[in-house]
Amino acid sequence: MSSYLFKRFTTMIITIVGVSVLVFMIIHLIPGNPVSHILGDYATEESIKELEMRLGLDRPILVQYFSYMFHAIQGDLGTSFITGYTVVEEILNRIPITAQLALYSIIFGSIIGILIGVIAAVKKNTILDQLAMLLALVGISAPGFWIALFLILLFSYQLSIFPISGYSGFYSLILPSITLGLGTAGSIARMTRSSMLDVIKQDYIRTAKAKGAGLFRLVFMHSLQNAIIPVVTLIGMQFGYLMAGAVVTETVFALPGLGSLIVSAISTRDIPTVQGLLLFMAAMIIIVNFVVDLLYTKLDPRIQYE
């Protein structure tokens, strides 16, 4: 492995460890005793003590952290207080939906965003450009739950094209993916537009014109290939927002994914589940960004990690 990649990989590991500390701290410092929550209002002092001991919550926090991480490295994120399943089982159960949701919304957001951005750049300073940028602004600023409700009202309630909620295969993921992808589309459209405008001015585009290339070739084979490079970083970063957005979207559409799992785990003070999920999602985001970095060499021949 090249030294750059090694450095980048090390940073990634350190970041994940840092995140784990942060997650652990947050969870253990927020007020509210999970044990008394589990046992209900009529729990006795003794039964609380006993359960705390059984769950290991009576140990010093540092010991708890290291023991947790020791197990986490071996793929054991603990067992849910509530369901009795291991957290890993919970994640594996729920991940297909969130993964699909993330994938579809990234695809939707990228295609729509890049298309709109390209059109806006090619038609710079026209009505079309202004309309496209207005659309992007709406996509970025409209809250997810609002878009979700709007889409549900229109497509599910009025037109009955899609199911209102729940998971029943690909079909039921279309509206949630659009909901989640719109913000991504907006950011990508903006970035694509500015990146395209920058590239269109370059000397090599003039060269391509001088060779006799037509508009389509200029835009898609000469400009976009260069303009897309910064956009790809943005797409990688969007993955983090998607994870956050999934929490709202899955809840509104009642999809049994990681997002809705974390909401229910928080409301039941299911510490191992919350902790494991946060750690898992953070690690995913960090890893995706690392992979995007690797992809760069494929897109931009000037970058070589050697």
Binding site: Q202, D203, Y204, R206, T207, A208, K209, A210, K211, G212, A213, G214, H222, Q225, N226, L299, D300, P301, R302
Partner: protein
């Protein structure tokens, strides 16, 4: 026998300005280029050389500019051509190389692909023989290890090598006219000479006409058959290269010649720069645009822009020659 290849008549190029008006960048330009001939276009920076060159191929932004007049290529006015028809001219009958070899090639495409593209665009190669033809062209412009360079990216090559690639690309379709806009300005002196030699060699082989744009009179004296001197968007002098260097007429041309090293100059090797700068577009409302920098300027120069006066085959736009010549 000389055959006229390109004939530009009364070309005006103007740009839309911030207000709703237009600013004229090139005024009433008429010139011709014969087959196989090298015409030098000289003038200081900002004289309108690049704008002229780009307009010949209609490469200036069409939303913010106007090109008037006729641009006849082999008898056809290409200024009337549709965009589609124009595309079939670009890179094919007229091709162009630019000042900046470092930025003129697409950084994300391999060299082979970039040269292959122009062959493909003008249907001179298909998928099967494209690579082979590309290598052939690279060899013709004297590129070492042509077989491996087709798989390299521009950033892996030096400036001189990239300019060779640009030339290979420009010559790929065997064009009638090569427009070279300051092709050597960005390069080292030794590389400059190589690039000029290469252009000369290819010209001889293919009988390509060259419109060579430069502010370097040394390059002109070495390469050009005929020279057009431009100032403030106008032709101020035109003559064959010997006449121009031996007997320059326009005070601007004389000023240009005095400002470059020249063995048999009267100033015993001293260089005298022309005072002042090219005025910004739209600054000169009447009179000769050079008058503020001209030692010989008199009343008439302030009143009226001189026409081109012709004497023998030399043209000069200066009132000093009103008596001697005939108005062209």
């Amino acid at each position: 026998m000389t055959i006229e290849l390109l004939k530009v008549e009364n070309m005006n190029i103007s740009f839309k300005d911030d207000e709703s008006g237009t600013t004229s960048a090139v005024k009433d330009l008429s010139f011709y280029i014969n087959e196989g001939e090298t015409v030098g276009l000289v003038g200081e920076s900002g004289c309108g050389k690049s704008v002229t060159a780009l307009s010949l191929m209609r490469l200036i932004e069409k939303n913010s500019s106007f090109i008037e007049g006729t641009i006849e290529l082999e008898g056809e006015d290409i200024n009337l051509f549709s965009e589609k028809k124009m595309r079939s001219i670009r890179g094919n009958k007229i091709s162009m190389i630019f000042q900046e070899p470092m930025t003129s090639l697409n950084p994300v495409h391999k060299i082979g692909k970039q040269i292959g593209e122009v062959l493909h665009l003008h249907a001179l190669a298909n998928k099967i023989n494209c690579k082979e033809k590309t290598i052939e062209i690279l060899k013709k412009v004297g590129i070492p290890r042509a077989e491996s360079i087709v798989d390299e990216y521009p950033h892996q090559l030096s400036g001189g090598m990239r300019q060779r690639i640009m030339i290979a690309m420009a010559m790929a379709c065997n064009p009638k006219l090569l427009i070279a806009d300051e092709p050597t300005t960005a390069l080292d002196v030794t590389i400059q000479a190589q690039i000029l030699d290469l252009m000369k060699m290819l010209q001889e082989e293919y009988n390509t006409a060259i419109l060579l744009i430069t502010h370097d009179l040394g390059v002109i004296s070495e390469m050009a058959d005929r020279v057009i001197v431009m100032y403030y968007g106008q032709i101020v002098e035109e003559a064959d290269v010997r006449t121009l260097f031996k007997n320059p007429k326009h005070p601007y041309t004389i000023g240009l010649l005095n400002s470059v090293p020249n063995i048999d100059s009267e100033n015993e090797g001293r260089l005298i720069p022309i005072e002042g700068n090219v005025p910004n577009l739209g600054m000169i409302k009447s009179g000769c645009p050079f008058r503020s920098r001209c030692q010989h300027a008199y009343v008439k120069c302030h009143e009226k822009n001189p026409p081109l006066f012709k004497r023998d085959s030399q043209f000069v736009r200066c009132w000093l020659y009103e008596e001697e010549g005939v108005q062209a």
